[in-house]
Amino acid sequence: MARIPVPIRTKLAALLGLLVALLLIVGLVGITLLRDANARADHLTELQRKTAAYRDLRQSTSDQLSAVASALTSPSAGQLDTAARQLNLARFDAERLEFVAADERELVELVRQAHAEFIGGLQAVLDLARAGRSDDARARYGTTARPLADRLDRRTNQLVHKAAAETLDAVEASRVASERSQAAIIGFAIGSVLVALVLGAALSLSIISPVRAMDRRLAEIAAGDFARHVSVVNRDELGALAAHLNEMNDELGRLYGEVEAANRNKTAFLASVSHELRTPMNAILGFTEALLAGIDGPLNDEQKASLGWVQRGGKDLLDLINEVLDLSKIEAGKIVIAPEPFDPRELLETVIAQHRSLATGKGVRLSWREEGMPEQVVLDRGRTRQVLVNLVGNALKFTEQGEVEVIGSGGSDDDLCIEVRDTGSGIPAEQFDAIFEEFRQIEGTVGGTGLGLPISRRLARLMGGDVTVRSTIGSGSTFRVDLPRDIRGAAASRAVVAPATGGERLLLAVDDDPSVGPLLEKMLSERAYRVAAPLPANAVAEARRLRPNVITLDIIMPGRGGQDILRDLRSDPVTRDIPVITLSVVDAADAPTDANAHLMKPLKKKDLLRTLDDLDRERVGAGNR
């Protein structure tokens, strides 16, 4: 049905037309059968009427016979008149007979003759009796009237029997016909329903399955997979739609590739420029500090002040370079999150103390308090501190008078929640997203790279949290950091591991599901394998550091998916040749093609061991060439 090259509208109209035709046929067949049944019922009524007429004839014959006979036993004028009246009535019987049995011309003619002769015979008997010749009349009755009556009776009986036989035949025929009609109607109805169902199903399948296929494909495209085409065999509107979808997929894929490449180039460029800038900056700052420390002899106060400006400018520039480097590291997935337990109070105090002099200098009150903050958290302390320093520094930068207040609490899920409230100028709601984008700042505000908030948000997200903002123009802004209380929980066996040594081999399990690492470890207990399960955000950095013998990679993960991680692994000379087994609920057909093997979840030990053996053989084979 899908391959018929006509528009869907035509297909639907054809199906509808067919259904109407089937209905009409069923209706016509029904009407015809009803008409037949009606005709048969009429025929039966006719036969009944005939039979009744014959019986009446027989009855009146016997009435007439007995009337004449009784008139003969005591012939009186009254009796004879009664008998004569009876005979006169015979006319009607004969006429009725001709009327009801018009089709039995021959037999009726015989009966009529016999009847006429019988009536004539009886008339003659009556005439004799009326003439007073009773004996002759009796004799005549005996010799002619009785035999005539018998003959009439025989002939009438013939009619009766024939009618009875016909009635039986008609009843039987009617029964058979009724059964046949029933079967015909049921058969026709079932046939029509089946035809309608089959055609309807074929048509809807030919519409629904391509729509579903395209819907699935669209969802994949939305998720960033441009690797496949949807295959729709339809040669109607849906076929055209699928062709356009595939064109769009290719175009989007091309654009996406370009954007990604451009973004990678930008990131790589920023990373290398920042790195190159840091070396001379270190010389500038190092010498400035050394000069200030008197390395080349004592300085006068003006020289010290001037060098102080060099130093301050240098530090600002180094901060900026470090921020750009940080951002490029985050983008390249090269930041390692290292959880450690610490007291958030102590961290808040440190951060506040660090900004105290800046606040005092501006005349802004800086304070912190807590409302049920956890006493210990397990997070990357350095990165958490970086986020807080950024937010408090920002708040102070944009607040000219009033206060900056930091409030630590347990948040909604008893995690770590830190709010930084200022009494600055506020941020318009339509800028809430823009301030978290790189190199964006509210127009007309004081300088800075505009990287602090994007970096803070990305760091918070790397640790499974987020940074959000709410603000009222004129009365201030509140930046809120939400972080899990313990990110080790998400990675029980994700502690930092040393690189593989000796005969022992290392498998790096990259999965957002923390149970996968321990599972693999169990499955590999009889092999000389260690299993390391880093946070997916750290996967590439850990692979560089640990140089595992094999990597298992989940494909569908929040944030950067397996495809992205695999691409990074392949583009890095250190990790390029490490065999990667993709591990996912997705089918092998949908897995990235440049992986070395694919295993379906739920994982089976047998499959895992066989795949590892296969990979070993391949590597040995490649080594021998």
Binding site: G286, A290, I295
Partner: protein, 120 residues
């Protein structure tokens, strides 16, 4: 005080380190290449070598290997001195046979003290 061999191909770094060490009262010998470092180690018998890892001819790892291979210099104290501070670099350096690890940029205020720690 002590005699210290400073190996760095970046002149600014070399000069700064040299000045800071001299200010702290040490004798300083310098080298700009890996092979130069191996030769200077052999001739000067310094008390401490600050060895940059990224050098133009042979890198710091190879220079260390050669210093350790020679009976003359095998027991010298050699500290890795690098700008590429990556997680795990320190472990790698200690595993390779360095006696210590310092990351660049140096902190001018505490540099002399840190070096003093390697000498004791």
């Amino acid at each position: 005080m002590a005699k210290i061999l400073v190996v760095d191909d970046t002149p600014a770094n070399r000069v700064l380190v040299e000045k800071l060490l001299k200010m702290a009262g040490h004798t300083v010998v310098v080298a700009e290449t890996g092979l130069g470092a191996v030769a200077a180690a052999n001739e000067q018998h310094p008390d401490l070598v600050l060895l940059d890892l990224g050098l133009p001819d042979i890198d710091g790892w190879e220079a260390l290997r050669q210093i350790r291979a020679s009976p003359e210099t095998g027991t010298l104290r050699v500290v890795a001195f690098t700008a590429h501070a990556m997680v795990g670099d320190k472990e790698k350096a200690m595993a390779a046979g360095f006696d210590g690890y310092m990351s660049k940029p140096i902190d001018v205020g505490t540099f002399a003290q840190t070096v003093g720690g390697f000498l004791s």
